[in-house]
């Protein structure tokens, strides 16, 4: 957990500027999104909302004290505004990336970014750790193939938001997060669903990639379990 996902989730909340009491919306309840939600809760956020549509992931979000939001059932932007007196969340994290897609499976690389801007309040902070790439030859349209997304910059600028993005500098956080675990204040392994020998990696990839129910995080053990 300390090699990537816990520091990366923490980094998303750092870039967003999460402060005690804040309302926070997280797009994506994969391992990094769940770690971002967990980090926000550890930091004392007043309300954490996690948007996804996989019930196993949303259940984990609920178990750690976040509000699950199923975007195949409700409009997540409206939901967040309803939960925040119409203002939008104080902070938002994007933990999905360029392969964001609608419930039908069609990719919209700008979907979570624009929802993020829309559901975070004026002068709010955004942390984007979902992966975006300079080129994506397999992308759904010409713009995305050149690594460009139709971002609602006007709305973002008008709202005076700030955004941090990119990969996490793990060493900035891993010592502190290790000590949170060692001190019994954090247990990020709550999301691990499968521990497999190396030989079963193909099965792990297949099930994790197809979002099979219950496959929330796969740990491989090359040296045996």
């Amino acid at each position: 957990m300390l090699a990537d996902i816990f520091p990366t989730g923490w980094h998303a909340t750092e870039m967003a500027g999460v402060y005690p009491g804040d309302s926070v919306v997280i797009y994506g309840a994969g391992p990094v999104g769940l770690m971002a939600a967990y980090s926000a809760i550890i930091k004392g956020a007043g309300k954490v909302m996690v948007v996804d549509r996989q019930n196993d992931r949303l259940k984990l979000a609920e178990e750690i004290g976040a509000i699950p939001v199923n975007d195949s059932e409700v409009d997540p932007v409206e939901f967040v505004k309803d939960q925040t007196l119409g203002f939008g969340a104080d902070r938002g994290c994007e933990c999905v990336g360029y392969q964001a897609h609608d419930p039908g499976g069609t990719e919209h690389p700008n979907m979570t970014l624009n929802r993020l801007v829309d559901s975070v309040r004026f002068v709010g902070g955004l942390g984007v750790v979902g992966v975006f790439l300079p080129q994506d030859p397999g992308g759904p349209d010409k713009l995305e193939q050149q690594g460009q997304v139709a971002f609602d910059y006007g709305n973002y600028w008008f709202k005076g938001q700030t955004m941090g993005s990119g990969q996490c500098p793990v060493k900035k956080y891993n010592r502190a997060l290790r000590d949170l675990i060692a001190g019994g204040k954090a247990s990020p392994s709550f999301l691990v669903s499968h521990e497999l020998p190396l030989d079963q990696a193909p099965e792990g990839y297949k099930n994790f990639d197809s979002r099979e129910d219950g496959w929330t995080k796969v740990v491989l053990h090359p040296a045996g379990t």
């Binding site: 090699a3 891993n174 990696a201 990639d209 995080k217 796969v218």
Partner: protein, 136 residues
């Protein structure tokens, strides 16, 4: 040694590849005990990156140090270690400012920055979904 090898879109297999070994005096060699599958591995698994078939995945790695290079003094054989997915030198302009995610010296392509284990466009390093891992 055995490793998870990327064969092409939606296709990985566990195969024998050349053993990881010390290649630089400051390297250590780690016997991997846990290597997670990450969501970012799935972008590569689905063939949506420039990740080259034949390379191995794995950037969430834990294990035990089994060998140290001659320039390594603090880390000892037998240490249990968790490895940041970033590979970083600690002395370049970006590392010195804390941006180990954008290291300039471990990334061999001068126009890019940042390196990682088994990751598209993040240097030539093998991944840790394998029995052993070279840690620069």
């Amino acid at each position: 040694m055995k490793a998870v090898v990327y064969k092409g879109p939606n296709d990985v297999s566990v195969e024998e590849i050349p053993d990881a070994k010390i290649e630089h005096p400051a390297d250590v060699l780690v016997r991997i005990t846990s290597a997670n599958i990450c969501g970012s591995d799935l972008h590569m698994y689905e063939g949506r990156t420039s990740f080259e078939p034949g390379r191995s995945f794995g950037h969430e790695n834990l294990g035990e140090v089994v060998e140290t290079g001659p320039a390594v003094s603090k880390v000892k054989v037998g240490d249990r270690v968790v490895l940041p997915f970033n590979i970083a030198c600690g002395f370049c302009k970006n590392c010195e400012r804390g941006f180990t995610n954008y290291c300039l010296t471990m990334q061999p392509e001068p126009k890019l920055a940042g390196a990682a284990y088994g990751f598209a466009d993040m240097g030539p390093y093998q991944g840790g979904q394998a029995e052993y891992l070279r840690v620069p």
